[in-house]
Amino acid sequence: MLRYALRRIVLMIPVLFGIMTVVFILLKLIPGDPAIALAGEKASVAQVDAARRAFGLDQPLPLQYLSFLKSAATLDFGLSLRTHQPIAGELRQFLGATLELSLAALLISLLVGIPVGVIAATHRGSTLDYGTMILALVGISTPVFWAGIVGIYIFSFRLGLFPIGGILDSGIDLQHITYGYVVDSLLTGNWAALQSSLHHLLLPAIVLSTIPMAIVARLTRSSMLEVLGQDYLRTARAKGLTERFVVVRHALKNALIPIVTAVGLQFGSLLSGAFLTETVFGRPGIGRYVVQAITARDYPVIQATVMVTAVAFVVINLIVDLVYAAIDPRIHYG
C-alpha cells in the first residue's frame, strides 16, 4: 500500500509539470501586452518598459518559463494587479471558503443520495423507484446557477428563511485559521459566527449539491441492484438476518466501492459548480476571484488560481485512489 502510494505520488510529478506548462502557454497566448496590463492602461512607454523589466518579461521565453516554475514551486505568486495584495494570502483565504462550500455540498449529496439510491433499489420497479429516478434525472439536468436563483427567490425572498447572499453577517468578528468560516467558528468557539456562517452556507451548499446528489442516488441504485442479486445475500437472508441488516451491512457496504470513486471524480465538477454558485450568492471564493481577475486582466492571479486549483484537484484524485485501495480488500497494489 505504501509503495503504491509512493509510486502514485512520483507519477503525479509529470502531470504537475504538464499543468504548469499548460498554464504558462495559456498565459503567453492571452492577447495583449502583459507589460501594459502590469503598468496600467494609462502608463507611459517608459513605465511600461520598466514594468516589463521588473517582471522579467524582457527575458527569453525559456528563462521566463524557469522563473515561472520557481514561483510556482515556492508558492510565491507576487502581488495582485487589481488589489495590490500578495496573491498567496488572497488565494488561501478564497480557497478555504470554496473548499468549505464544496465539501458541505458533497456531504449533503452523500447523506441524501445514498439512502435515496438504496430505497429506490430495494423498491425496484415501484412508483417510488420511478419517482426518485425521474427526480434524479431532473437534478442532473438543472444548471446550478439557475437552481441558485430559484433557491434565492423561494427561500430568501418569499419565505425569508435564508440570507440572499454573503458569507457572514456584518458586525460579527471571526478570527481566521483555515478561512473555512464554519470550521473557523468551531475552532475558535465563536458561536455567533458559527450560527451566522451556517445560515449563509446552507442554501448555497444545498444548491451545489443537487447534481452530485442526483448522481450519487443513481449510482447507488445501480450499484445496489448489482449487489442485491449476489448469492451471499441469499445466504445472509437464509441465516435469518433481518432485511434491514442484510441491505445495510451486507449489500450497501459492497455497493459503496464504486460510489467512492465516482464521488472523488465528481470533485472537479463540484469545484466548477462552486465557482458558479459563489457568483450567484455573492460569496467570496476562488471562482469569483478568478472571474474578476480575468475581467481585470490580472495575469498573476489567473496563473496562481488556475495552477493551485489544478494541483488541488490532482491531489484529491490521488487521495480518492488511495481511499479506494484501502476500502476494497480485493485490490492489492504492489
Partner: protein, 307 residues
C-alpha cells in the same frame, strides 16, 4: 474521467465495457442495432425526450418566422411587465418580449450543445483510436496529455481558453469542445484496447489490410455504441456548460438572445420580476432533460443488462 462521469453519470465504465462486449461479433451488429431500436421505441422516457429534441430543432429552424415580436425590439413603455396574453413570458428590463427571446435562444442552445460535442467526438475518436490501436509511446503521450487536460476543472479550463480567444459564442464552442475531447478519447481507447485483440482484427491484419482500414472498418465500426451514448448525454451537459459561460459574461454578447445571458440579467431583477430568469431557466432544464432522457434510453437500449 471526472468529466465523463459529469457528462454521463457512471457512463464511462458502465457503457464502455459491456456494450463493447455485446458488439464485438461483426455478424451480429445489424441485428443488435435493430434490437436496440426496437427497445428504444418502447422506452416512454426516451421517446418523450426524442419528441422534445425534435421540437427544439423545429423551433430553432423556424424561430425567426414564429416569434410574436422581434426578439431585440426594445420598448421602455412596457419594461418588466409580468406574463400576460400579449407577452406570454412577460417582458425584460428593456421591454423586450421574453417568449420571443426564449424561442430565438433555442438556436444558440442547440448550436452550443451539438457543435462542440461533434467536434470533440471527431477529435477524441481520432486520438483514442490511434492511441489505443498503436499503443506504446503514442498511447503514453496521448494519455498523459489527456490526464493534464482532465486535471483542470472544466470551468477553469474553459475560462482559460476564453481568456485567450476572447468572449463570444463561437469561442464558447471551441472551449467546450476542448473540454470534451478527453472523455471521447478515453472511452474510444478503452473499447479499442479490447477490440484490437479479437480474432477478426487479427485476421484482417493477417490478410494484409492497411492499418487505417483496419482501424475504421473493423475496430471503430464495433466501438460506436458507447460513443453515441456518450455524445447524446454530453449534448445536454454542453448546453449547461455554455449557458454557464454566458452567465458569467463570457459567451453570447448583448443584445443577442441567449438563455444563459437572460438568466444572468434575470438575477438582477429577481425580486421585482422573477419571470426574467424563470423562463430561460426552464427552457435550459427542458432541453437538457430531453437530451438526457433520450441518452439514458439509448444506453439502456444498447445494453439491456444495465437497466
Amino acid at each position: 474521467m471526472a468529466r465523463e462521469l459529469d457528462a454521463a453519470p457512471g457512463l464511462a465504465r458502465a457503457v464502455a465495457e459491456p456494450a463493447v462486449g455485446a458488439l464485438t461479433a461483426p455478424q451480429s451488429t445489424r441485428s443488435l442495432w435493430r434490437d436496440a431500436a426496437r427497445r428504444l421505441a418502447r422506452d416512454k422516457g426516451a421517446m418523450a425526450g426524442l419528441i422534445v429534441v425534435a421540437l427544439l430543432i423545429v423551433v430553432a429552424i423556424a424561430a425567426p418566422h414564429i416569434t410574436p415580436y422581434p426578439p431585440n425590439d426594445q420598448s421602455f413603455r412596457i419594461k418588466l411587465k409580468p406574463p400576460s396574453a400579449a407577452h406570454w413570458f412577460g417582458t425584460d428590463e428593456f421591454g423586450r418580449d421574453i417568449f420571443s427571446r426564449v424561442l430565438v435562444g433555442t438556436r444558440v442552445a442547440l448550436w452550443v450543445g451539438i457543435v462542440p460535442v461533434a467536434v470533440a467526438l471527431v477529435a477524441g475518436v481520432a486520438a483514442g483510436l490511434v492511441a489505443g490501436y498503436y499503443g506504446g509511446t503514442i498511447d503514453s503521450i496521448t494519455m498523459r496529455v489527456i490526464d493534464i487536460i482532465l486535471a483542470f476543472p472544466w470551468l477553469l479550463l474553459a475560462i482559460g481558453i476564453m481568456a485567450i480567444l476572447g468572449p463570444g459564442i463561437n469561442n464558447v464552442v471551441i472551449a467546450v469542445a476542448i473540454v470534451y475531447i478527453p472523455a471521447f478519447a478515453r472511452i474510444v481507447r478503452g473499447s479499442v484496447l479490447s477490440i484490437k485483440e479479437k480474432e477478426y482484427v487479427e485476421a484482417a491484419r493477417a490478410a494484409g489490410l492497411p492499418d487505417p482500414q483496419i482501424m475504421t472498418r473493423h475496430v471503430l465500426a464495433n466501438a460506436w455504441a458507447p460513443i453515441i451514448v456518450l455524445a447524446t448525454l454530453s449534448i445536454g451537459q454542453a448546453i449547461i456548460y455554455a449557458a454557464g459561460l454566458s452567465f458569467i459574461g463570457l459567451g453570447t454578447q448583448p443584445p443577442d438572445a441567449d438563455w444563459g445571458v437572460m438568466l444572468s440579467s434575470g438575477r438582477e431583477y429577481l425580486r421585482q420580476a422573477p419571470w426574467l430568469g424563470g423562463f430561460p431557466g426552464l427552457a435550459i432544464l427542458a432541453a437538457v432533460l430531453a437530451f438526457n432522457l433520450f441518452g439514458d434510453g439509448l444506453r439502456d437500449a444498447l445494453d439491456p443488462r444495465l437497466r
